[in-house]
């Protein structure tokens, strides 16, 4: 195999050879560094040249480090010039996010903590006020039952006249089928209960007079499946 470094003087240097100084400085990509390492391992002449490069590398650092540092005059001159510059206005293109970021970064941790606490308090207060307003606006008729069926009665209550209701205690020997048949017969639905064994029934017949309602209760009372039927208080 012809060594990569054989060509260097007479001809153009190889790609690997050209990369050696950057390999010495450790600024090659991982892929290039691996290629150089492999070439160095198989080419003694290239390895010798690499040793020379490492001397140059060390010599260049020593030379630069021996140059010392500038005097403080340079810094004084710089900041005098900066002070003489016109006052800088915040850039119009500065994003809102950057401004917010600057604002919050300028606050102390204690101030930030107090601000966060105040913000949380305001949120809770606002939630309380909203809840209070909602509670005040609820019609009092909705405060009785909590079953989902009540939601049906809410829409009905918004109509002109409330549907008739009764409290019913079913007979002890009434079966589920008996109760279901009764509800179908009277077009009724159970909307609440059962406190003390009494169920609240609502009838779908719409508004009815006192007599009609008394008649309805009487008929209910006579049903075999019913032991007691009374008007809701």
């Amino acid at each position: 195999m012809m060594a990569a470094s054989k060509k260097i003087v007479e001809q153009e240097p190889s790609d690997i050879e050209l990369l050696l100084p950057w390999h010495a400085a450790g600024t090659l990509s991982a892929r290039d560094a691996r290629k150089v390492e492999e070439a160095l391992a198989r080419d003694p002449e290239l390895a010798r040249q690499y040793a020379v490069i490492r001397e140059e590398y060390a010599g260049t650092i020593e030379l630069n480090e021996s140059l010392g540092a500038p005097s403080t005059r340079a810094m004084q001159k710089l900041f005098a010039a900066i002070d003489a510059e016109p006052a800088r206005k915040p850039s119009a293109s500065q994003s809102l996010a950057t401004r917010f970021s600057s604002l919050f970064s300028s606050l102390s941790p204690r101030t930030l903590a107090w601000s966060a606490s105040l913000g949380a308090f305001v949120l809770v207060l606002q939630a309380g006020i909203i809840a209070g307003v909602l509670m005040d606006n609820r019609p009092s008729t909705f405060q009785t039952a909590s079953l989902s069926m009540n939601e049906q009665s809410i829409t009905r209550d918004l109509s002109a006249a409330p549907p008739p209701r009764a409290l019913v205690r079913f007979a002890a020997d009434a079966h589920v089928g008996d109760v279901t048949a009764l509800l179908d017969k009277y077009q009724a639905s159970i909307v609440g209960g059962a406190k003390g064994g009494m169920f609240r029934l609502q009838f779908a017949n719409g508004s009815m007079s006192k007599d009609e309602f008394a008649n309805l209760l009487s008929r209910l009372q006579n049903e075999k499946a019913v032991s007691l039927a009374v008007a809701t208080p």
């Binding site: 630069n64 140059l67 005097s71």
Partner: protein, 189 residues
Amino acid sequence: MSATQAASDDTLIARIAQGDRLAMQVLYGRHHVRVFRFGLRLVRDEQVAEDLISEVFLDVWRQAGKFEGRSAVSTWLLAITRFKALSALRRRKDAELDDEAAGAIEDTSDDPEVTVQKKDTGDALRKCLGQLSAEHREIVDLVYYHEKSVEEVAGIIGIPENTVKTRLFYARKKLAELLKAAGIERGWP
């Protein structure tokens, strides 16, 4: 330079763009020595080099808002320094340098043989590094001392990446010739 410091430099530049004087002091403290040395190796005059760094960092103060972060801040600083140094060289009338010759003329003020007599190869190497042309000196410094990648050197000098590689190769060859002339054989080329 670590990634952390590079990111930190970017943050400093963003703060400088907003007129943060303290950020400017931090950036100056972090980079002014290397900027000075790079400038000094180009202009070979401490007074001029000190003036250079003031000009470089004043440019940073003024232009920070335009820095897009496409290169490392240190690379940006060296590019500004190089531009300022070449401008200073053009202005220097008593150096008998013209625009074209500035990069090509070698400094022969010191005789490397004197150094060789001291039988100190390290000294001879440093002397010969000083004998290189400005064009060769800057590329050697950028790669070895400032640890810039091929791409970064290309950006600073404004030449193609392949030219960066070959220019350094020929700078090294020239250095070897100077050493050989001074009686030092290193086995390459």
